[in-house]
Symmetry: C2
Subunit: 563 residues, 2 copies
Amino acid sequence: MTADDLFEQHRERFANARAVCRTRAAWSAFADQPASYPDFPAARAAGEEAFRARLGRRHELALLSVQDWVGEEVSPYTQQPLGIEYPRCDLDASFKAANTGVAAWSATTPQQRAGALLEVIDRIYRRHLFELAYAVMHTAGQSFNMSYAGSGVNALDRGIEALVYACDAMDAVTPQVRWQRSFGSTQIQLEKRYRLVPRGVAVCFTCASFPTWNAYPSMIANLATGNAVIVKPHPATVLPMAISIQVFREVLAECGFNHNLVSLVVDTTRDPIGKHIIKHPDCAIVDFTGSASFGQWVEQHAHPALCYTETAGCNAVVLDSCEDLDAVIRSLATTLCLFSAQMCTSPQNIYLPGDGVRVGTGSGATRVSVQDVSHKLADALSAIGRDPKKAAAILAAIQSPATLELIVSLQSSPANQVLLASKSYAHPDFPAARTATPLLLAASPQQRALYTTERFGPISFAIHCGNSKDALSQAAADVKEAGGLTAFVYSTDERFIADAENAFALAGSQLTVNLTGPMPLNFAAAYSGYHVTGLNPAGNASLTDAAFVASRFRIAQVRRPAA
Amino acid sequence: MTADDLFEQHRERFANARAVCRTRAAWSAFADQPASYPDFPAARAAGEEAFRARLGRRHELALLSVQDWVGEEVSPYTQQPLGIEYPRCDLDASFKAANTGVAAWSATTPQQRAGALLEVIDRIYRRHLFELAYAVMHTAGQSFNMSYAGSGVNALDRGIEALVYACDAMDAVTPQVRWQRSFGSTQIQLEKRYRLVPRGVAVCFTCASFPTWNAYPSMIANLATGNAVIVKPHPATVLPMAISIQVFREVLAECGFNHNLVSLVVDTTRDPIGKHIIKHPDCAIVDFTGSASFGQWVEQHAHPALCYTETAGCNAVVLDSCEDLDAVIRSLATTLCLFSAQMCTSPQNIYLPGDGVRVGTGSGATRVSVQDVSHKLADALSAIGRDPKKAAAILAAIQSPATLELIVSLQSSPANQVLLASKSYAHPDFPAARTATPLLLAASPQQRALYTTERFGPISFAIHCGNSKDALSQAAADVKEAGGLTAFVYSTDERFIADAENAFALAGSQLTVNLTGPMPLNFAAAYSGYHVTGLNPAGNASLTDAAFVASRFRIAQVRRPAA
């Protein structure tokens, strides 16, 4: 099939995505739950088998200039090495190989590139989704359902979304015009042509806990605009990207393009290669997802490469007042536990009014003390951790041993006031799983240093502020300074909500108000939610807006006298 | 008049501009020549009078925290100080004042902001255009006609163009949606609202020789998206910006906005303030036009501010073959002389094939040696310099004494082979004018260091390459490395032209092919030409594309359960 054929094949899906990017209504190109996937049990079994077949082997990718083979992945569920080795390639050779295909790739039409990329997305969905889900589970530590939904279909949807924005940006540039005006008494007629020129080679850094979700949009935004992509995964979580890259390369080759337009560069914890890649003279674009500290370095040193970052933040909850405190506590507890809060959108800091949370409305309203609210929250968190089946479904596993160390260090420090201690829980399916129930600490604004750093993992802080107004202004100020992607406010007072909207819009957190019920508070909807504002240190780019794509290509013009 | 009324008043002009930005056909909102301006003689006289009334006085702008008054402008035409002093303000106070108005300004609709900005543009055109033209003449040294056309109407058109792109980018973000999907058996309905949030305070650096042309697009892109703007003009050329800023402030105040949304920060040659402004914690965006060396510093140090630069380049001419050599030489000579090549688009390096330029087609074709071509060019340049009226209209005046020093140093160096020496010419209207006829040097690729730096002013190099192919590859390589905005190729060979298109698209120069006649080769058309590609060191931003505007605002969202 040619790339044009592939575009025709996926035209309707793309048109739907394009429409919904305008309205930002709810939509997905895919079955949103495993059970809705065509022939689910068989597909799942085949995916698991494909994953198992990867273990203990070299992962062949036909990359150029392989120097040696490395791999250090350990399953958070079994705490056993996966035993997979990936080719470590010469960096210059990797950039050179990536660059080789750019001229032909960028000489195609945007629609042809879109055709190939839509096929990649579709093929990952049809042939590799469960294999990918198992790969995510046994590297990132996500539950099976999250691996399917968050790292699978939602990530693919975000990829399509990025493709829509890239195509919109390119379609806005007319390919040619006849231009005429007079200079003195002479009419000048020029044929002008406008060519879209890619930047070159983009480098996509993916993180250990949620690699595909940021990677697909970045990779596709880069490829759609004619660039090549080198993926540099976190050494703890290579397999989901290696599987994905294989599909990109397969489709590119089938369409007659150079498969080295997409490649993999791996490193090890001992010999990190990140800075070398970014300072490589052929590195034209950096997409970075990872730690805030390295993200800061990337933003400061990427020049002359373009740089898009999403790091991490201290996401805030402000609890002013509510009608149903139990419903709020349930939602908060579930979200604080979801994938052990190893998501960039997970809340961490809960700002509480020292004069109590107003519960109920009108004359029936009462104030519940900060202590009581904190204990209710601790109880709800504890209940999830005590029920192994629930814990397995919600908390899942801990990606990194460093998270366990951080938990121990925080809860054993005599300076910290522990409201709920963390311990491991016994996973019903994986007895050796690396697990931790949530840790809840009490804190005051005088202890800002404790909570204005991202404490990655199931760690949260109940922060006792003066009153609701203090809680809000403290939360917004902390976000602005320390970074934050999401914020959650509960209030029955519309004026307070309006103030919160202003405060968090300026601080740059995406705000959710008064949400309770089964939807995870930090659920990020493809085609609808803008992920990251770029207005605080949690990242400089948003998934997905025009700014995410518009600069990845440039416009070169040629003008000459019209024939 | 409210901002909404103003938008209605200018609606048709804006709609025309919007349409033409899509097609990129020729259009202007304004009379393109002084003679077509309504009641030209009276308007010109009034403008000159308004300019004269500015001389020898303080330029009041009602800025806050004025510390002292400074001014060092000298007219290139009279070489006398203008004697105008501008308020030098405390930097913190300037940022604070600028920030004060941002909340109210950004809370308006994009259309309201567009209304106010269209009125600013219209008012500059109706009330201040000739005053501005005289201000440009007597600071930058442009001819009257260029001051009117290039720094006047064309700059205003580019401002409208930037407004179109800013409004397009903002209009692409839906203000709200009702979003619904099921989680388990529960239907969740959310009201989502998307708010456009400005970055804060933008700083706009303007250059000495062509301030308004880059300033208007930058200022308007920033203001349209809700930001405030502080203009930092080159100390040699403050008045055109001070006049413009006055109009922005006047209109903002009339519409009920804080006039400090637009302000001026001046410095002196002895106490430059550029780095302090860029590293100021409230500096959110930098738009920079100026030297390549400071531009590089800006790009490297602006973080966390966004940064858009246009610096300078070594623009290339490649002369492979042509039908009418005299016509080519005339066009080249005129363009090399235009405003004494003090434009970022002026050609500098003329790459010639050592085996001669093929002239004519078919069996009548002959080869003209590099020596002969160089001498023809020298003669044509010399003819312009010898005719005082022509010289005044084309060469105009030299902005900076440093340019004269550079000319002297280059033409007196025994290492350099002078094809045409520069001298001053007697300006018919301004006997004391700072002038210089063009300097043409011969060079070989072994002397790359000589010409791979921008030699600002009427200085060009006839570079003897091996053959046409060498000339092209050398030119493209020099542009990629040293920077270049424009390139000019003459060839009767379509294969050579196709190669040139590829080479300069990758090198990032906007290419003009086989143009002769009365249109200046480097004429940059608003709404049609993309100025700067961002693909080489001559600048990282283009006037005007989506990338120029899309990141100047961010998107903050609020979601809550639907009522």
